[in-house]
């Protein structure tokens, strides 16, 4: 079975720094693989163990630096890694990103059976790309998958965890799943894995190889645009409480209807 795993490099949000002009301080920013994508990768490794003749292709769109996470994927056991990278891709919104990824899958992994993605990327959290990719490829999709029960060459049975229910769902392949939980320890690559992975070259494709005109992608091609970014200003003037804090809070609670003993 051919499995595609989509992974993204994201800023380490716990360590974000801003410049004085309200821009991301990219020069001093650390990056990492999106944590839900680590789960996606581990599901693929799991399936590969269960089904003979499985291969895993890891795909990422991003700057050259994103090779780091593809090397990590190769070290974990992915068979092939593809980086979609072009200056012209910069600023692509979710629709354009989905077009780039789905075209790459059609072109370079046309016989895929299963696409696995993370539930969301921690930097944008729109959750749109998995479903947009599935729609462009015209395949079924189940989001918020927390377990895989059965899988064979033509179908997969997954457990889905959503707001108000836990569902067992079977899907006819090819299909896409986005995952929200992985209940086993993640594979941690060893030095040997990285050495082995070095022989496996990351394939890099740009707008040209994907047959996109530069005007169809990036900021120009995207249907949405950032009009302005700002720090919200608030006119509220807080009353500063100076003394007897607990008494103040307690009174506030009581005047707002808290239960009294």
């Amino acid at each position: 079975m051919k499995i595609v795993v989509c992974i993204k490099q994201v800023p380490d949000v716990d360590n974000i720094k801003w410049t004085k002009e309200n821009n991301l301080d990219r020069a001093n920013m650390l990056s990492k693989i999106n944590s839900y994508d680590v789960m996606a990768l581990n599901y693929a490794l799991e399936i590969k163990k269960r089904l003979n003749n499985s291969t895993i292709t890891a795909i990422s769109m991003g700057p050259n630096q994103a090779q780091d996470i593809l090397n990590y994927a190769l070290a974990c056991g992915a068979d092939e890694a593809i980086l979609l990278s072009d200056r012209a891709f910069g600023g692509s919104d979710t629709l354009i990103t989905s077009k780039i990824i789905s075209r790459a899958i059609e072109k370079y992994v046309p016989d895929y059976k299963l696409i696995i993605t993370g539930k969301l990327a921690s930097d944008g959290d729109t959750r749109q790309v998995p479903l947009a990719v599935a729609t462009l490829l015209d395949i079924a999709a189940v989001v918020d998958v927390c377990d895989i029960k059965n899988i064979n060459d033509s179908s997969i049975e997954v457990v889905q965890k959503v707001e108000d229910s836990i569902n067992d769902i079977s899907l006819i392949l090819p299909a896409l799943i986005s995952v929200c939980e992985f209940n086993k320890p993640n594979y941690v690559p060893k030095i040997d894995d990285y050495i082995r992975a070095q022989n496996n070259k990351i394939k890099i494709y740009d707008a040209n190889s994907l047959e996109f005109d530069k005007s169809e992608v990036g900021i120009i091609g995207s249907p949405t645009m950032v009009y302005r970014a700002f720090r919200p200003e608030f006119t509220k003037e807080a009353v500063e409480v100076k003394l007897d804090f607990a008494k103040f809070v307690s009174d506030l609670l009581l005047t707002n209807g808290a239960k009294h003993e």
């Binding site: 395949i139 229910s165 995207s222 500063e240 804090f245």
Partner: protein
């Protein structure tokens, strides 16, 4: 006549979910803004899919500001079929703006539909407005960006201009019934498509929904932030127990969830629940935009933070610069 379309999410009893009414009332307000800006006439249209639609819900939709309710008739409710049929309807009857609830199903339909219509989609907006740009009406959708401090206002170059909005961001106002109303049943070419997804079994997790529902409706919410972290004492539990004792609800920030101290059912904010209680009190919360966007509609906000420059104080009615742990311990004695 221009229109703003709202996706009406329905439950298994064909009843429209409350969040859709919130969007209808917001769309109604937007239609008034459009008129003021350049004289444009907009109506609000709601679209539901399925075999039937609850009568009371339809009346509520009108009362919230809907001029037209459309029921797209179809056999089953697979996401692909819903999106395809809505796409067909909107291709024949184009809308200027389409808004979706950012619920589990609303997000799926929004992502699929906007991809089919080849248009943009802005997720989890906390403010929507019309503006004039080069003399053209544009939906200005504002959402927090990552990294906690910035908001971004996003425009769409193409119509329909689309956005998703979480439950609790806007308020439904049932006094906006338009003079002329109509109901349309729309029959699409596709009634059924071969289903590649089969639901085998489903367990309702009632409990979880309860926590969220309770928080969404709460009058008083006490929120624990990462500032309550302590090597020796579990202040999260102390605050939760105290909240229970006084009949208030308990919530947390994402950082508390990320550190596995509490389940994400209690998370307040952009990626958690939106709340609008009469009284919100935070204990050791820094005031990141993503958190603020889920609580800024609270009527009274009191914040306790040890750092007098903490961002949370910008949104507060009452500023308490103090050790929140100490206050929790004292509160326990007061009660």
């Amino acid at each position: 006549m221009n229109k703003i379309t709202i996706f009406l999410e329905t439950n298994r009893q064909n009843v429209i979910e409350d969040v859709s009414f919130e969007l209808i009332s917001k769309a109604y307000a937007l239609s008034k803004t459009a008129h003021e800006l350049n004289g444009a006439d907009f109506i609000v249209e709601g679209i539901a899919l399925g075999q039937n639609l609850d009568k009371v819900s339809i009346e509520k939709a009108y009362n919230a500001g809907c001029s037209r309710v459309v029921l797209i008739k179809q056999q089953d409710n697979s996401d692909i079929l819903c999106a395809k049929n809505m796409a067909q309807y909107l291709n024949e009857n184009p809308s200027y703006v389409v808004l979706f609830p950012a619920t589990y199903f609303g997000r799926i339909i929004a992502s699929r539909l906007c991809t089919m219509l080849d248009t943009g989609l802005v997720a989890d907006c906390i403010e929507l407005d019309f503006i004039l740009k080069n003399n053209e009406l544009k939906l200005a959708s504002t959402r927090p960006t990552f990294g906690s401090e910035l908001m971004a206002t996003i425009l769409s170059k193409k119509n329909p201009q689309c956005a998703t909005v979480r439950k609790g961001i806007f308020r439904a106002d049932f006094t906006k019934r338009p003079e002329n109303i109509d109901f349309i049943e729309y029959k699409s070419d596709l009634d059924y498509i071969e289903n590649r997804i089969k639901f085998l079994n489903s367990i309702m997790a009632d409990n979880k929904e309860n926590i969220k529902e309770k928080l969404a409706k709460a009058k008083i919410v006490l929120v624990a932030g990462f500032g309550l972290m302590d090597a020796k004492v579990d202040y999260f539990k102390k605050l939760k127990d105290f909240a229970k004792k006084i009949g208030a609800e308990f919530g947390v920030t994402r950082k508390v969830v990320d550190n596995k101290i509490c389940s994400n059912d209690y998370q307040i904010g952009q990626t958690g629940i939106s709340i609008n209680p009469d009284l919100y009190i935070s204990f050791g919360v820094s005031g990141a935009i993503q958190h603020i966007s889920g609580m800024k509609n609270s009527k009274k906000i009191a914040a306790i933070n040890i750092d007098e420059n903490a961002d949370i104080f910008k949104y507060a009615d009452y500023k308490i610069v103090s050790d929140a742990k100490k206050i929790i311990e004292e509160l326990e004695i007061y009660k």
